[in-house]
């Protein structure tokens, strides 16, 4: 078989696989994709499509194998990084899994509308990140609590030790001790601040979703929106900026990279903000 014939044949097999997949016939789809892979082992999509079937069947080791192969062929494959991330999380390799999902999210931003899966990736990433934060913050909070109690005890002990020698100055001594205890309280509550869930600042949230940005894009009016949602608005409501009402077309939207970094920095320090309702 000549290379072009093989490629054509493999492409037909992929289409068969897609049809089986749509009908939830995953074993048949896997067979079709496998044949395609045998004919043309260097096409990453055959590997990611087969991985998706394995995912549906909860065969995560196979998902991982196929995704790793797809990434070798195309290191920018959003789907391969995404499903590899899910497979690693299944294996409880959290740090590695999160890293793959972050990679997928990064590559997925601004992708063509047909293959746009940022929200799906974000949901999975957020779930994993929140769990990591939950574990870490519990540990941090224990550590701080123990340290605080030890410091309080030390200050009180010092107060009693000082007391007999400074007869006549008792009031002054008491006051300075109380001040120190108060200062200690302030220092420790400051240290716990980042782990205290509050509200995400408005400037990190889209004015339409009211939620923290996944893929922020800025309009010529200077307003930033969530990409998927502003595209939906331009498609369904009208070709105008929702806030300024200036005319707006999809091609005018530009990624807001600075805000994307700001969101990342904020989330790194405030893992609770990954929590979804």
């Amino acid at each position: 078989m000549s290379p072009t014939t093989a490629a054509k044949q493999a492409e037909l097999l992929r289409q068969d696989g897609n049809l089986y997949f749509k009908k939830d016939r995953f074993a048949a789809a896997i067979d079709a994709y496998t044949e395609a892979i045998v004919l043309c082992p260097n096409v990453p999509v055959y590997w990611t499509n087969r991985a998706l079937c394995h995912r549906k069947r909860n065969e995560w080791t196979r998902v991982e194998e196929d995704c790793r192969r797809a990434i070798e062929l195309d290191h920018r494959s959003v789907k391969a990084h995404y499903m590899l991330g899910l497979a690693l999380l299944q294996k409880r390799e959290f740090a590695e899994g999160v890293k793959e999902l972050e990679k997928a999210l990064d590559l997925g931003r601004g992708a063509n509308p047909k293959g746009y899966m940022v929200e799906e990736i974000w949901q999975e990433l957020a779930r994993a990140k929140y769990l990591l934060w939950d574990n870490e913050s519990t540990r941090r909070s224990w550590e701080l609590q123990n340290l605080k109690e030890a410091c309080e005890a030390a200050l009180k002990e010092k107060y009693f030790l000082d007391a007999p020698q400074t007869e006549g100055y008792v009031d002054e001594n008491t006051e300075s001790n109380l001040d120190q205890l108060e200062a200690l309280e302030r220092v420790f509550s400051k240290a716990a601040e980042d782990d205290n869930p509050t509200e995400v600042p408005d400037f990190l949230c889209c004015k339409i979703t009211l939620d923290i940005f996944r893929d922020p894009v800025i309009t010529p009016s200077g307003v930033t929106y969530e990409r998927a949602v502003i595209l939906d608005h331009l498609d369904k409501v009208g070709k105008f900026d929702p806030i300024t009402r200036e005319p707006l077309y999809p091609t005018q939207l530009v990624s807001n990279l600075a805000l994307k970094e700001a969101v990342k920095t904020y989330l790194d320090a405030h893992g609770w903000a990954y929590k979804m309702d």
């Binding site: 339409i208 979703t209 009211l210 949602v229 409501v237 105008f240 806030i243 309702d277």
Partner: protein, 161 residues
């Protein structure tokens, strides 16, 4: 009047219910002055008490707004009506329908329940005469069978009242 339009009977989409939860949280922290949200467990229909602003024709009066959210809120405007008896106002029909452009053609997904409430209160406050729209009877008759105001083809009264 209490029958929601066909579009608002469908359950809220995920985006819609997320956004409404955020709006509700924000409302609880920072409600618009003169309004009170009547707490229910129905996220898709809000009932809001409006108090006429001091120094206006409606001071001391209380009305109820009913806000129904469509499946694809905020890509689609909510349906907002006064629960009769509605205030006497040149842009408010006796069946509670409100002639206000932002609720229909001029809706933008960046608007919120809170900003709608503020627009409605400002519409009430700028009124100089407590009267019904000139075409009230004809309009209300046309709306029998619980037609939604969102199905009306509005021509908007001018802003001067």
């Amino acid at each position: 009047m209490t029958s929601p339009s066909a579009s608002s009977r469908k359950a809220l989409s995920k985006i819609a219910s997320n956004r409404l939860q955020k709006e509700l949280m924000e409302w609880q922290v920072n409600p618009p002055a003169g309004f009170k949200h009547k707490v229910t467990d129905n996220l898709q229909r809000w009932v809001i008490e409006v108090n006429g602003a001091p120094g206006t024709l409606y001071v001391g009066e209380t009305y109820q707004l009913q806000v129904d959210f469509p499946e694809h809120y905020p890509m689609e405007a909510p349906q907002v009506i006064f629960v009769p008896p509605a205030p006497h106002h040149p842009h408010i029909y006796s069946n509670g329908h409100i002639c206000l452009d932002i609720l229909y053609d001029s809706w933008s997904p960046a608007m919120t329940v809170s900003s709608i409430c503020i627009s409605i209160l400002s519409m009430l406050s700028s009124s100089t005469a407590k009267q019904r729209p000139a075409d009230n009877d004809r309009y209300v008759k046309n709306c029998k069978n619980g037609r939604s105001p969102k199905e009306t083809r509005w021509w908007f009264h001018d802003d001067k009242v």
